[in-house]
């Protein structure tokens, strides 16, 4: 026991002596949450709109008033000549132009048919389609109000976005950042710290000592377990306080699943360290082999359902994709233990396989 404690103390000293790394490890999740939460938001806000309509047109003015009342749009300009559209987009940085036909109110009052043209800067297709659907929604709700009972029967689709009515991007990013940060710290840092002993020749000394291999591994794990717990709590607190993320399910369940995932990542790190001989290789494998799949195949950036089948199969082998699903279920949808049994089972099987593989791979002698 004394052996183990002094080994852990040594590991903690290594981490504390390397001030730059510890700073990065503690600040990284904060920066990522702030970046993903605020800067990299996919919600549309502050859209600059220019409008073109005949002065005094009653219905057009009402619609414009509604659009400008929405928090998403700023009417910045009224244009008279719809022909210099392209210069508007280029010089004025306008995002959207709405053009009402010349006799808009009259046409509606007379025949009930008129038209509005929406021109978008579609160089960002996501934003363009979101903006279009917002504006069409405003126009169609207005249309319903002014339509009398004489109108033919129409079926209105009513959309309801469950769990995330405002379609906040952070609901997707926060679970993603949790998976990403835990992977980096647990898998990458653990593998590097074990491989460093090999590279500097100190592993040779540790092997020629009565130190049990299990002790070596436990003492490598403990400090990163602590750091990743701190990171986990930081992320959750920031997400709740700054990004208004809910924690609808049980907090203990969330932490429990997170620890399961942390242990999976730690064993991945140990397994990687048994494969390579130097720190650069460990960094490459855990960077390319772990971080990329977490970013691309967990569902954090791109929805898994729309991926080709073989990518979905690969994603099934990425622990982060299961963790990502669980966090969303527990945090956002408020589901309980019974609803996430499948994911927990899969993560547990992964952990068991990795532990067995690492134990088999760990050498009590030099390679």
């Amino acid at each position: 026991m004394k052996q183990l404690l002094s080994f852990i103390k040594k590991e903690v000293l290594h981490i504390l002596r390397d001030k730059r790394t510890i700073l990065i490890l503690l600040i990284m999740p904060v920066v990522q949450i702030l970046l993903f939460g605020f800067a990299m938001t996919m919600e549309v806000k502050n859209i600059k709109v220019a409008v073109s309509y005949q002065y005094g047109d009653e219905l057009a003015e009402k619609i414009i008033a509604r659009i400008s009342a929405s928090e998403y749009f700023h009417i910045v300009q009224t244009i008279n000549n719809p022909l210099d559209i392209s210069s508007l987009f280029k010089k004025e940085k306008i995002d959207t132009i709405i053009i009402f036909s010349d006799e808009f109110s009259n046409e509606i009052h007379k025949g009930g048919i008129s038209s509005v043209q929406i021109i978008n800067d579609a160089s960002d297709p996501n934003q363009a389609s979101t903006v279009t659907s917002y504006i069409s929604a405003i126009i169609s709700s207005f249309q319903n109000e002014i339509a009398g009972s004489v109108q033919p029967i129409r079926i209105n689709t009513e959309l309801k976005m469950l769990y995330n009515p405002e379609l906040k991007g952070s609901y997707n990013f926060v679970p993603g950042v949790m998976a990403l940060v835990l992977t980096i710290i647990c898998a990458m840092m653990t593998s590097i710290s074990i491989v460093r002993e090999k590279e500097f020749g100190t592993m040779e000394l540790l092997l020629v000592s009565p130190m049990k291999p299990a002790y070596i591994i436990i003492s490598k794990i403990v400090p990163y377990l602590i750091i990743s717990t701190i990171n986990l709590l930081t992320i959750i607190v920031l997400a709740v306080m700054l990004l208004d993320m809910p924690v609808r399910g049980s907090f203990m369940l969330l932490m429990g699943v997170s620890f399961l995932f942390i242990f999976v990542c730690l064993t991945v790190g140990i397994f990687i360290s048994s494969l390579v001989a130097n720190q650069a290789a460990a960094m490459l494998i855990s960077g390319m082999g772990m971080m990329m799949p977490v970013m691309l195949l967990s569902g954090m950036l791109f929805p898994l359902d729309s991926m080709p089948k073989f990518l979905q199969i690969i994603a099934d082998f990425v622990p982060a994709s299961w963790y990502f699903t669980v966090v969303k279920k527990v945090m956002i949808e408020g589901q309980g233990l019974m609803d996430i049994l499948k994911e927990i089972t899969i993560l547990t099987i992964m952990l068991a396989v990795l532990v067995i593989a690492s134990v088999k791979k760990f050498k009590v002698r030099l390679g």
């Binding site: 004394k2 052996q3 002094s6 080994f7 040594k10 000293l13 290594h14 002596r17 390397d18 500097f200 020749g201 100190t202 040779e204 000394l205 540790l206 092997l207 020629v208 000592s209 009565p210 130190m211 009590v364 002698r365 030099l366």
Partner: protein, 297 residues
């Protein structure tokens, strides 16, 4: 105490060790002498249970490296050829760590390392990476000794260390030997051989000779001469062409050559004179270990 029997080890196509055997008694200072690449480090790794040999076996105090390796690891001290301590930990932290790895404390065995550690104690709060080469070796030796090992394995402990520190280091080994610790030490420096009780000369993975340094020198049964002149490079070429000379090698500031008997010296002197060499010196010398190594077999 250390019994090495018919060890062979091959890495891919390179035969690192070929049928190596020796015996070291308790309290003996045993040297393994040979140049880089002769197989010394491989032999050390086999003796310290880090590598498994292809053939043969090793017993450390009657414990087999195959079955009792955990027991062996508790009772040996190992200092690898490369400085392998934690560079970001201080001198004291390193020593403390290795003491606790072996379930002991600095205080318990301080008498063992006192003579060595007292040299570096003033720097105990300095990071190990910032120590000089000689101090690093002393710290590494302290760490290898802190658990009072039965046998101490030192792989090239004096490589890259200045001459003064080297001398100090060997003096320390003498003190440890006198405390009853068996020491197996390897070195590429032939001049250090004479400080061992017995030595093994290793060449291309095989032992040439195992004996006391004195006996190895006494068994050198050739007539050895040293030659000097102003133009040493030309001299070596010319000497090799002279009659009576069996073979000649440059040895620092001299050329050493083997001849049949003393009577030929005068004749060789005349031959060299005729080749216009100036300030020629030529005389009979007693062999050193390095001569024995070069002219073995």
């Amino acid at each position: 105490m250390v019994k090495v029997e018919n060890i062979s080890k091959t890495f891919k196509k390179v035969q690192a060790l070929n049928d190596v055997s020796f015996h070291a008694e308790k309290g003996e200072l045993f040297g393994i002498i040979g140049p880089d690449g002769a197989g010394k480090t491989t032999l050390f790794r086999i003796m310290t249970t880090l590598t498994i040999p292809d053939n043969g076996t090793v017993f450390i105090n009657n414990r087999s490296i195959f079955n009792d390796y955990m027991e062996i690891r508790k009772n040996i001290g190992y200092m690898p050829g490369r400085f392998a301590l934690y560079q970001d930990l201080t001198v004291e932290e390193n020593l403390n760590f290795f003491a606790s790895v072996f379930n002991t404390t600095i205080e318990e065995n301080y008498h063992l390392i006192k003579g060595i550690y007292s040299h570096i104690a003033p720097f105990k709060n300095r990071k190990a990476g910032k120590l000089s080469g000689g101090m690093k070796q002393k710290l590494a030796l302290s760490c290898a000794l802190i658990h009072k090992p039965e046998v101490l394995f030192l792989d090239e402990p004096t490589t890259g260390v200045d001459p003064v520190s080297r001398k100090e280091f060997w003096d320390m080994l003498y003190d440890l030997k006198n405390m009853g610790i068996t020491i197996i030490v390897s070195t590429p420096y032939m001049d250090e051989a004479s400080r061992c009780n017995r030595i093994a000369l290793i060449k291309n993975g095989a032992f040439i000779d195992v004996n006391t340094p004195k006996n190895i020198i006494n068994s050198f049964n050739k007539t050895l001469i040293a030659l000097k002149a102003d133009n040493m490079r030309q001299l070596l070429k010319d000497v090799r062409k002279c009659s009576h000379i069996k073979s000649a090698f440059a040895f620092g500031a001299e050329i050493h050559a083997v001849i049949d008997n003393d009577n030929q010296i005068e004749d060789i002197n005349n031959q060299i004179k005729n080749l216009n060499h100036k300030n020629i010196e030529i005389y009979r010398i007693p062999p050193a270990i390095e001569d024995c190594y070069i002219w073995s077999r």
